[in-house]
């Protein structure tokens, strides 16, 4: 416990509030992610997970509260600037460049972290400083032999893997994984869980996930969001034992 307490969180939100009309989508949420940990965010549909993710990534601005990332106040920073500070993300709904090959997708992700792209004449498709690291990342997520395949032709599971390879480009300090297992088969999920566990040594993750098996296997800490409010936060064992959580969320399956 004491060792954790002295570690400065990588990501920290302070009393975030976001309203949509009369709906309080984010209700004074304060969470943090420390270096080297997987913090999972769970909650039933409509709990405000997506709204929170949008605020963390800079898609929408909070009405009040603050977001600190890597020692900076990033509350008003645009998305691309947060990415540059080391915030990598995968999307809830698979978001890859469908008309590009797997390798080109990752090469573009590498390019996104390689300074500005106002370069008009050199052929980027033969640029080994982009393709080399991209190939390496594809190997890392197990897509090495699919490098030349169009992203649109990859299976759903492979597209999810591709997303993670893209999120890993630029060596982010924090990975924000928005339902990475969504739509995956059991076997694919298990492989991804093993991969993420190995990855944890190198970087922190905020994991938004519906698959409770995955969450309890991976997370160091879990925060439960219900109606925009963080009703509980703690280790997997603490969350399992928490009466509020059992009632509000795990109720149907765990009781």
């Amino acid at each position: 416990m004491s060792e954790r307490a002295v570690t400065e969180p990588l990501l920290r939100t302070e009393l975030l509030v976001k309203r949509y009309g009369g709906l309080l989508a984010t209700d004074n949420v304060s969470i943090d992610v420390r270096p080297g940990e997987i913090h999972a965010l769970i909650g039933p549909n409509g709990a405000g997970k997506t709204t929170l993710v949008h605020q963390l990534t800079g898609v929408v601005a909070p009405d009040s509260g603050a977001i600190h990332f890597a020692g900076r106040d990033v509350t008003r920073l645009p998305t691309h600037a947060r990415v540059r500070l080391g915030l990598g993300r995968s999307f809830q709904i698979t978001s890859v460049l469908r008309e590009f090959t797997a390798l080109e997708n990752v090469a573009l992700a590498v390019q996104g972290h390689a300074g500005h792209s106002f370069r008009f004449l050199a052929d980027a498709r033969r640029d080994e400083s982009l393709r080399g690291p991209a190939r390496h990342l594809l190997d890392e997520v197990g897509l090495g032999d699919r490098a030349g395949t169009l992203a649109a032709s990859l299976s759903h599971g492979e597209q999810r893997q591709l997303e993670i390879a893209m999120a890993l480009a630029g060596d982010p300090r924090l990975l924000l994984l928005d339902e990475p297992m969504a739509g995956m088969g059991a076997e694919e999920s298990q492989r991804l869980i093993a991969f993420l566990r190995a990855l944890k040594q190198k970087r922190a993750m905020l994991l938004i996930e519906h698959d409770m098996d995955a969450v309890f296997q991976l997370a160091d800490r879990i925060t439960v969001l219900v109606y925009g409010r963080a009703i509980a936060s703690g280790t997997p064992d603490e969350i399992r034992a928490n009466a509020d959580v059992r009632q509000a969320y795990l109720g149907e399956e765990a009781a």
Partner: protein, 322 residues
């Protein structure tokens, strides 16, 4: 290079470029001076189409006001000429700067919108300039302005039709060369990536707006170049050169030729001009008086291309291996 000649696309492109390169010799040999004038306009319009393709084809940004750059480039030359500044060394840089500045301005405003709104706002800005052009009574208003061709004393005499054609052709080659580099450069890949998935590109750390603004500006500058040439070709500028129909023609040309392909705009321009010239007499042959209604044939032809050849003429020349 040699390998490219073995594909239908490579062969067709090489033939087209070869014919264009020696067109003045051909038209002189066959005594068809009129064809050189059409050829010149094809080359100039190709430059404009390639420039539109940089944002429309590669970037997915449907700018419905691209002919405004014909107008800006043309009027810059025309107005300077009307004030006695006939040197191309002054006219051309001023015209290019004007087109670039205007592109930055409308790009900065219109690129904040998406989809249909972008189409409408680019159209609106072009119409604005169109009506300003018509209101410039000192420069001929709606009737336009006769000018003389730009002078480059001691370097090239543009009053010579063959000289002027070759200059246009050289500039088309330069534009194509730039576009070929642009399309596969880091910058080009950002623009193409943003067409495919803007949200993804932002999440990869690309400030998409800035890249699109730069692309819009480059595209506008090349469009301005085409405007300079068009004004010189006809020795005349008028608001008609930037009417919304010209902008529409440019979109049709790019779609017809093949969006997001290097030579597609060139195929599209040739097809467009050839059909425009050839359909009326052909229809008149079939039945006297039908020539007037050539659009009735042209329209459905475009619909067929849109329905069955999504990649335009380029896709009819065989599959791409990239």
């Amino acid at each position: 290079m040699m390998a490219a000649l073995r594909t239908p696309r490579g062969l067709a492109t090489a033939l087209i470029l070869l014919v264009l390169a020696i067109l003045p010799l051909l038209t002189q040999a066959f005594d068809q001076r009129y064809l050189l004038s059409i050829g010149t306009r094809i080359v100039i319009w190709s430059i404009a189409a390639v420039s539109l393709n940089m944002i429309l084809g590669y970037g997915g940004l449907v700018s419905f006001g691209h002919a405004v750059f014909f107008g800006i480039g043309g009027y810059a030359v025309g107005i300077l000429s009307a004030h006695g500044v006939s040197s191309g060394w002054i006219q051309w840089p001023v015209a290019l700067l004007a087109a670039t500045a205007w592109a930055i301005l409308i790009g900065a405003l219109s690129l904040r919108t998406r989809g249909l709104y972008f189409i409408m706002i680019t159209l609106a800005f072009a119409q604005l300039v169109y009506y300003v052009g018509g209101g410039l009574e000192a420069y001929g208003g709606d009737d336009g302005l006769n000018i003389s061709r730009s002078r480059f004393p001691g370097v090239i005499d543009l009053r010579d039709k063959a000289n002027f054609y070759w200059l246009c052709f050289a500039l088309l080659c330069a534009t194509l060369w730039f576009c070929s580099r642009y399309a596969n450069s880091r910058f080009g890949l950002v623009i193409r990536g943003a067409k495919s998935n803007e949200l993804r590109m932002t999440a990869l750390g690309f400030p998409v707006f800035r890249y699109r603004l730069a692309a819009f500006t480059i595209s506008g500058a090349f469009g301005g170049l085409a405007g300079i040439l068009l004004a010189n070709e006809g020795a005349y500028v008028s608001p008609a050169m930037m009417s919304w129909m010209k902008s529409g023609d440019l979109i049709v040309i790019v779609v017809l030729g093949g969006m997001g392909t290097l030579f597609g705009p060139l195929y599209g321009t040739i097809a467009f001009f050839v059909l425009e010239e050839a359909l009326p007499p052909l229809l008149n042959l079939a039945h006297k008086g039908w020539g007037e209604y050539w659009m009735i044939v042209f329209g459905p032809l475009l619909v067929l291309i849109a329905l069955y050849a999504r990649g335009g003429i380029d896709s009819l020349l065989g599959r791409r291996h990239e």
